[in-house]
């Protein structure tokens, strides 16, 4: 063999194998495209998904046949105009201006006179919602449960303006 000057101890020669040892290479996968695709898919479904609304079935109730007639003479009517002023009238009588501060005591007296008194509350559409809430609260606190709330008619607005006019 080359390099062998001769005379020295020779190394035992290995048999050359036919298979070359495999050179293992480190495998590195770049995950960036996969993450990109995942986000693209996510964005796509976020923008295009439309949830199906549950279909509501409409049920029309039969017309109510029970009617109760109330005598107008005994009806207590509270009216509130656009400016938030309160007026009270009984039956067909003329409305009289009333202070809100006097309302709780007034209702308690009415409850003592007749616990089943029927009350009608008419409020101008332009009045503040808080006024209606306050009146209903006072009625509930006075335990007067037979009341109805409605909106003020045009004729009644005129009537209130007359009641408000200085005498």
């Amino acid at each position: 063999m080359a390099g062998d000057a001769g005379g020295g101890e020779q190394r035992p020669q290995r048999k050359k194998s036919k298979h070359k040892p495999k050179r293992r290479m480190g495998v590195r996968m770049d995950m960036t495209p996969m993450v990109d695709v995942a986000f693209l898919l996510l964005t796509f479904f976020m923008l295009t998904t439309v949830f199906r609304r549950p279909q509501t079935l409409e049920i029309k109730l039969p017309p109510s046949s029970t009617k109760s007639e109330i005598s107008e003479a005994g009806l207590l009517i509270f009216r509130v105009d656009e400016g938030g002023e309160l007026y009270f009238s009984k039956g067909l009588g003329a409305p009289e201006k009333m202070e809100f501060t006097a309302l709780p005591g007034f209702l308690k007296d009415k409850y003592r006179e007749d616990p089943n008194a029927v009350i009608l509350v008419k409020i101008d559409r332009k009045a503040k919602y808080q006024i209606m809430v306050d009146i209903i609260d006072e009625l509930n606190m006075a335990k007067l449960s037979k009341y109805s709330v409605g909106s003020l008619a045009e004729e009644e607005k005129e009537e209130l303006k007359k009641a408000n006019a200085p005498k």
Binding site: Q55, T56, L57, E58, I59, K60, L61, S65
Partner: protein, 281 residues
């Protein structure tokens, strides 16, 4: 390695070729239904079969008690009842180690009917108890069989567990209709879905005390009142399933409780129980 992969591929190919496997829209099913819901369930079954041609559904009409016994004994896969199981039936199912699933179906009302020439169409709730207790000398009361859903409802809901001793018991709800039509001063109790032609009968409005206004409000049986629980003789109809896997019974149940099924329910004058409803005056 290649041989193993090839074998696995072949196996997966052939395993998908099972033609006889039951699916939610394919297979054969016997549905037991309470006589009080016969008409609506038959209509729904026909509609289902028209859509899914590979399904076979047979509807068998039974009494409420009979259907409950079939479910509890594991003899039925699906039963549509006008009432829920009572304690005795629940204990029997537990003793048989039977697991069942329950699903809401619809709201139903028990009609109080008289002949068309009854004269009045209102009756108070307390009067019903008097009629069923035999305390009325003027009217004869007729109710369906002891095993029917109506009987159980009147016994537990109206009379607090006591049997309606003053009432005459007929075998079926159809016989109750016949008895009311042919006799004067006869009051009958039937399910809402049994009453197909109401022109020959008076359907009473039942008076309920309105404690807030201290008045009596008379309400006729109507789906709008069932869903709001205003009509006093309202009951909940349920579906019982003993199916283990998801097969045709589950598929038919989904159909009954879905939008289309509930629309059928409303068209049959019953109250939908599984979809949102909007009550309009």
């Amino acid at each position: 390695m290649r041989i193993i992969v090839s074998l696995l591929l072949l196996l997966s190919l052939f395993s998908g070729c099972d033609e006889s496997r039951e699916t939610p829209v394919k297979g054969s099913l016997t549905v037991y239904v309470d006589e009080g819901l016969e008409n609506v369930v038959k209509a729904l079954a026909d509609s289902f079969l028209a859509t899914y041609k590979n399904a076979e559904i047979s509807v068998q009409v039974v009494k409420a008690r009979e259907g409950a016994v079939k479910i509890v004994n594991g003899e039925a896969e699906m039963f549509i009842s006008t009432r829920e199981f009572n304690d005795e039936e629940i204990n029997a199912a537990r003793a048989n180690k039977l697991e069942y699933k329950k699903a809401k179906f619809c709201y139903d009302g028990v009609y109080v009917i008289g002949r068309f020439d009854a004269g009045t169409d209102t009756i108070s709730y307390s009067s019903l108890k008097n009629f069923l207790g035999g305390r009325s000398k003027t009217y004869r009361t007729v109710i369906p069989s002891v095993n029917s859903g109506v009987y159980e409802f009147l016994k537990t809901g109206l009379l607090g567990g006591t049997d309606p001793a003053g009432a005459e018991v007929k075998a079926t709800e159809s016989e109750v209709l016949t008895a009311v039509k042919s006799g004067k001063n006869v009051i009958g109790f039937v399910s809402a879905n049994v009453m197909q032609d109401s022109s020959e009968y008076t359907i009473y409005k039942i008076g309920v005390q309105d404690s807030l206004r201290n008045t009596i409000q008379y309400l006729e049986p109507h789906p709008g009142y069932y869903v709001q629980d205003l009509y006093p003789l309202t009951r909940l109809c349920v579906i019982y399933l003993t199916e283990i896997n998801i097969g045709l019974a589950s598929g038919f149940t989904s159909y009954l409780t879905g939008n289309l099924g509930q629309k059928f329910v409303l068209d049959n004058k019953l109250g939908p129980a599984t979809v949102p409803v909007k009550v309009v005056r």
